[in-house]
């Protein structure tokens, strides 16, 4: 800024001083804004840190009473008799996610290909709006529909006495994450340069060849990110799952036996346990596992996005 010199007239002095004070005010405002932004970030980081710290701190208390081996590899969950094996829930979460993705991924990719490559523009716009609306439906609605419509249907067609289980949960979750995966895959497909499609036609390729050989491989990392995002949503989903899974601490790999996963078990039990009990600590440990899984999924997405950008 301008330097003040003593031989200036009073008028200029005053003017400069005013200008300087205005500059100082601006400077202060800038500084303030900078600290505001920095403060917000620190606040957010502190909240996240506090969550991880609190959940893990309480969770790790479980290992005072339960061995690592028992918690992760025993399937006997019976707190009344001092058995805290969480293998049923951990395996259940992984298995449910796998079945959900097996159902949702192929359908989502087909829908996305239809929207991005085949549908006429008016239908494309219409379908995209529809999918965005579907993303916004609260999960409890899906859960309720699953419990009242899907479960009697499963009972009728599989002969299972109860009907709750992985099949019901996986179908409900698939419908829930389908719009998410479809929309992101759609974006990834649209990001593929049009010249590549034209090159395919110029070489005499059909539309099918163009989709399978050109567009899908080019959008590979975007599609992977879409699937992982859907997976993160499926793993963390609680309310829809608790209504259709049956909530029994037993393996249910045949798809129609009532079983339980990490999220549903936590929400079933957390209100009904003593604060200081080992059961409570075990539930916190399960929550910590969920946190770890979702953090690692988000890191995986970032990796893929970075790769895709290169």
């Amino acid at each position: 800024m301008e330097k003040l010199s003593p031989d200036w007239t009073d008028a200029t002095n005053l003017l400069t001083a005013r200008r300087q004070s205005r500059w100082a005010a601006k400077y202060a405002a800038d500084r303030f804004f900078r600290f505001l932004c920095l403060g917000s970030i620190i606040f957010l980081g502190a909240v996240l840190g506090a969550i991880v710290l609190f959940v893990s701190e309480t969770g790790f208390l479980v290992f005072r009473d339960v061995s690592l081996w028992e918690f992760f590899f025993s399937s006997r969950w019976d707190p009344e008799h001092g058995k805290y094996g969480a293998a049923v829930f951990i395996a259940g979460t992984l298995y449910l996610t796998l079945v959900t993705l097996l159902i949702a991924t192929p359908i989502s990719i087909c829908v996305a290909v239809f929207i991005a490559e085949i549908a006429p523009p008016w239908l494309r716009q219409w379908l995209r709006t529809l999918l965005d609306l579907l993303v916004g439906i609260p999960s409890i609605v899906y859960g309720y529909l699953g419990a009242t419509l899907l479960i009697p249907w499963i009972r009728e067609h599989t002969g299972a006495p109860v009907g709750d289980g992985f099949l019901a949960a996986a179908i409900v979750l698939s419908i829930m994450i389908l719009p998410t995966i479809t929309r992101i895959t759609d974006d990834a497909l649209c990001a593929v340069p049009n010249e590549w499609r034209e090159a395919n036609y110029a070489l005499g390729g059909t539309t099918f060849q163009m989709i399978v050989r050109v567009v899908l491989p080019a959008a590979k990392s975007g599609i992977a990110a879409a699937v992982i995002l859907g997976m993160a949503r499926a793993i963390g989903e609680t309310m829809a799952v608790v209504m259709v899974i049956g909530n029994v601490a037993q393996f249910g790999f045949d798809l129609v036996t009532p079983t339980s996963v990490l999220t549903s078990h936590i929400v079933m039990q957390i209100l009904n346990v003593d604060f200081q009990s080992t059961t409570n600590h075990a539930l916190y440990m399960m929550a910590f596992l969920l946190l770890l899984i979702s953090i690692s999924l988000i890191m995986a997405i970032r990796r893929l996005r970075l790769k895709g950008g290169q």
Binding site: E80, D164, M243, N247, N272
Partner: protein, 286 residues
């Protein structure tokens, strides 16, 4: 000089009148405090929530100086919140000063029995079974009886539905019906639900299901079976002929004092017990 004295006089007058009025207010305030004032925080059982809410509404009218906050999450939250000092009164579906249902006894709390709660063993409306003995219900929940034809119904597999561990209704079911027999918590015909409403949905949507719930919930697609030949009615539960009932408790840290005491006394009063409490399908204890 003259001006200052005038100011001084005025100030003195204002000050003294303020003091007088203040003193008057304080004495009046004290008189009310001797009656009842303060803050009551109630936490715990959702089964007792309609009761505590109604009582709070009526109590506020007669005691405008008292602030009452009522909330409900789960039975065990009642004694826990009181022990921790988060709430002044805890509502619980069992006497938490004893060790019940796998929960520790909360020492230092005082339990007030406020209402008798009738429960019902429920089946789907289309189920032909109308009566079960306590023995039969035990055998069904233990997994010894697995088909409805063994208890006089159709040839269909029984679907056993249970509440989550720690539910107040389940604690009472285990206490009054199971009587020490362990529930079989596995198998492809067994499931657990979170809330009373979920229990009603589960039994009304499955023709072969059996479950249990507060008697007040019995309507729509479910029906209450008679136990040992006694119909599930509030009258039979009141007389003690019908065996499936429990008590609702309010818990305080030590002996109840001040506003808490007045509130509990109000719930135990003849007017409330025979009025609102009965209307809400609970049974008076006095």
């Amino acid at each position: 000089m003259k001006r200052t004295t005038l100011w001084k006089r005025m100030a003195a007058a204002v000050l003294s009148s303020a003091l007088l009025i203040g003193a008057a207010f304080t004495t009046q305030h004290r008189a009310d405090a001797a009656e009842v004032s303060g803050k009551i925080v109630i936490a715990g059982s959702t089964a007792l929530l309609p009761l505590t809410q109604q009582a709070a509404k009526e109590f506020k009218k007669s005691h405008p100086k008292v602030k009452i906050v009522v909330s409900g999450s789960s039975s065990i939250a009642g004694p826990q919140s009181v022990a921790k000092g988060v709430a002044t009164i805890g509502a619980c579906d069992w006497d938490a000063t004893r060790a019940v249902g796998g929960f520790p006894a909360y020492k230092g709390l005082k339990a007030y029995k406020i209402a008798k709660i009738p429960f019902a063993v429920i089946v789907n409306k289309n189920n032909s079974v109308d009566n079960l003995s306590v023995q039969q219900i035990q055998d069904i929940y233990e997994g010894k009886i697995t088909n409805w034809k063994q208890v006089g119904g159709k040839d269909e597999e029984i679907v056993v539905i249970n509440r989550a561990k720690g539910s107040g209704t389940r604690v009472n079911f285990e206490d009054k019906i199971m009587d020490g027999h362990a529930i079989k918590t596995s198998g492809d015909n067994y499931k657990e639900v979170q809330k009373s409403g979920d229990m009603v949905n589960a039994v009304s949507s499955n023709p072969n299901a059996i479950g249990f719930v507060d008697l007040a919930y019995v309507k729509g697609g479910i029906k209450a079976v008679s136990i040992n030949g006694v119909k599930a009615t509030t009258a039979n539960a009141a007389s003690g002929k019908y065996v499936f009932y429990g008590y609702g408790y309010l818990l305080t840290k030590g002996e109840a004092k001040g506003a808490d005491k007045a509130f509990i006394n109000y719930i135990l009063s003849k007017k409330f017990q025979n009025g609102s409490l009965k209307k809400l399908k609970f049974i008076p204890v006095k």
